[in-house]
Amino acid sequence: MLFHTWEFVIFFTIVMGVYLALKKTNWWTLWLLAASYFFYGWWNPLFLILIVYSTAVDYLVGLKLGDSKYRRTWLTFSLVNNIFLLGFFKYAGFFAENLRVLFTIMHVPIDVPEPNILLPVGISFFTFQSMSYSIDVFRGQLKVEKNYVRFSAFVALFPQLVAGPIERAKALLPQMRHRPIIRSIDVSDGISLFLVGLFKKAVMADMLALYADKVYGDPGMYGSWALLFGTYAFAWQIYFDFSGYTDMARGIAKIMGIRLMLNFNNPYTAVDLGDFWKRWHISLSSWFKDYVYIPLGGNKGFKYKVYWNVFITMAISGFWHGAAWTFVIWGLINAIGRVATMRIDQQLWYKKIPKFIKQLLVFHFICVTWVFFRAANVSDAMLVLKRFFSGLGGDPEIPVIIFALVGGVWVYQLVFNSRFRFILESWPVRIASLVMAMLMYIIFATAGNKQFIYFQF
């Protein structure tokens, strides 16, 4: 059930009506859980078995972490269980395929069967969210949650269940321990967030997807200009798609009196790669920082150890995104780029470069990495990169209106991050912006509702 469908409108209307009626009773978490399971089961009721199992294990582990002598063992059990679930459902096909190739090369006569496992929507998100609970409880940063219904509702909370933001247990669970307070400003903020997210997804992302899909559908047919613009289109598409989703998720949660974290903060205005990752998919970047990078040693230790920690964290992050070599390479390029430029912001020569040039450099580096993210396979990605520099221009046939729309948004972001932000914050501009966004949604929204890109992860 996508947020921008009539099914969701009906679902949310019913859920919210009952939620408001129950919010002053102890039944509200049970209703929230029922709604979340219904929302998740809408994709495939079989998925519910997995989330119920994962939740039950981490709930029991949490109890054991509270009073057991074998706390480390229980934490390990929780982590292994979650990683196994993720590995089995998400990566079994990838490993089987690569084993097959390996056995063929080594002439080993073993036939590795095709697992044919259905990937449950949002598994990468709820397993990570659940793991954060076990780790936080183990670290003593969070009370053990003894209420099973509340814990289940935290894992399955429907606004952010399938594509995040990956909320930390220590941020979300405390909100669910008291009855929700829905203020007038929560409703208006929620609606504002939802409408902007709707515009980002249904107008910008879906429109850019038409061009990016066309070019990346058969990259061999296109010259360097088309591939370059196709890559730009994808860079903005994925931003609008994912940030649009999280805006809508945050808006829906806010209307229900639940606060979710900011997940994107104008990432294409970043001035270095470190800055980019502080602005892009913030909930995932900070998850990896807290639960992978810091346990590895973080910034402590000698220089090359820190580089190694960064490299490993970025590489794992890449693999988290998908079970394909393109994602592995995407993660590695980001890791290399991040390590290579780690201290760049402290270099005098870099400081002298105008901010706008730095932003362009970062954007273009990220675009190169998106080539691997978007291409169907490694050979397609290599073809695209080769064509970039081949000089075989050709007519890109990119619609001028796409340029205008993306340009408009970029200028908006630059102004938002400048001292002229007050212009955007004036009420006539805010109202006019939203009216324009709504009209464009009605005019440009494509007939079919496209799936969000990050649902596949």
Binding site: W6, A171, S184, M261, V400
Partner: protein, 403 residues
Amino acid sequence: MHKKEKNNNTTKSERTFSSNAIRLSNQELLITGIIAALIILFVIPLLWQAAEEVNMDDDFRLAYDYRDDYWVYEQCVEQAMEKYPVVFIGDSVIWGMYVDNKHTLPAILNRKLNQQVAANLAIDGLHSVAMDGLIRYYGAAIKNKTVFIYLNPLWMNSKKYDLSADEEMDIHHPRLVTQFSPALTCYKEPLATRMGVLLERNLPFYSLLNHIRLSFFDNDSFAQWVLDNPYKNPASQISLSVDPIEKEHRNSKQDWSQKGITKQDWNWVALAKSKQWTAFKGIVELLKSRNNRVCVMVGAINPYILTDKSLMQYDSRIKGIVEWLKNNKIGYIKMPELPSSYYADASHPLDKGYEIMADAILKTPLMEEYYSKVKTTLKQQRKAQNEIGQKSLAGSSGSCDSI
């Protein structure tokens, strides 16, 4: 154990509202909603309607390519209501599938009456379930008029055409059929499509968008058109003048037997179970409730194309239809059975067939006030008609006396 459980508002990302400035208070959202509603509900549709010229031909026959443009249809109806006392509603038989603009049923009537009396508000593929949607939502201006409405029994010749089948199939004019209730089991569009149709019917802005898409953007979505025409300015595509006049010359001389059409053994749907018949009865009631004088043209399909068994079933359905019309005191005329060579296919007449149909209609009391003026002239014309035509005219029956 619980060293430092933090509250939820601690990190910068949690404190930050959003990465843009579009944060509106409840009052501002209300203003935004009002502005957007005014633009969508009134400003754009009314301004557009006032500015756009819809140039129609004499009898208002809408071009084939505009058959799905219900915005233009609505404008066309409004114009026709100002000029014509009589309107004809129906499917391609009335629209004139195999004839040009001068040989449709309303065009022939106007010629025979020596004045512009009848408007052709028929559309190709307009089965009764769709006709109900068309008249209900886009034909609201049809009131206080004489309405000849064509019932084409062909839409009841099988479960498929009757829309009684369970399996999904392509439907003519899906945006005009009932979206939720009464349910059509063969119509399996997703909720989004159905809700889009409801919006289009009830908010002129959506109907206008569809018109713009159909008329100026090759029936594509705006986004797809922009992709297919990267360097064209979408605004330059739009014109405030449309000419939905049928220009293609449709005047087939071939009859059905020359086309190699063989005998058909249709299994007609029982009237009591027919969705098309139920819808048709609803349309008649709707038109009457709008103070129209209604005359149902009970269509004669090509009887020569049917097997004996199928023809018997067909006759019993026609009998049932006529009985209902009589019982409900609704004017009707059974369309004359034409000579075999006057049928282009199972139901569409060729131009000579329309001449005979027109003569039958001119005999009805509803046309009396217009016809009496030219009766003398017509008598002379009748003498010149061939014998076959005379014989066929004798086959028509019914009247619109009860109106």
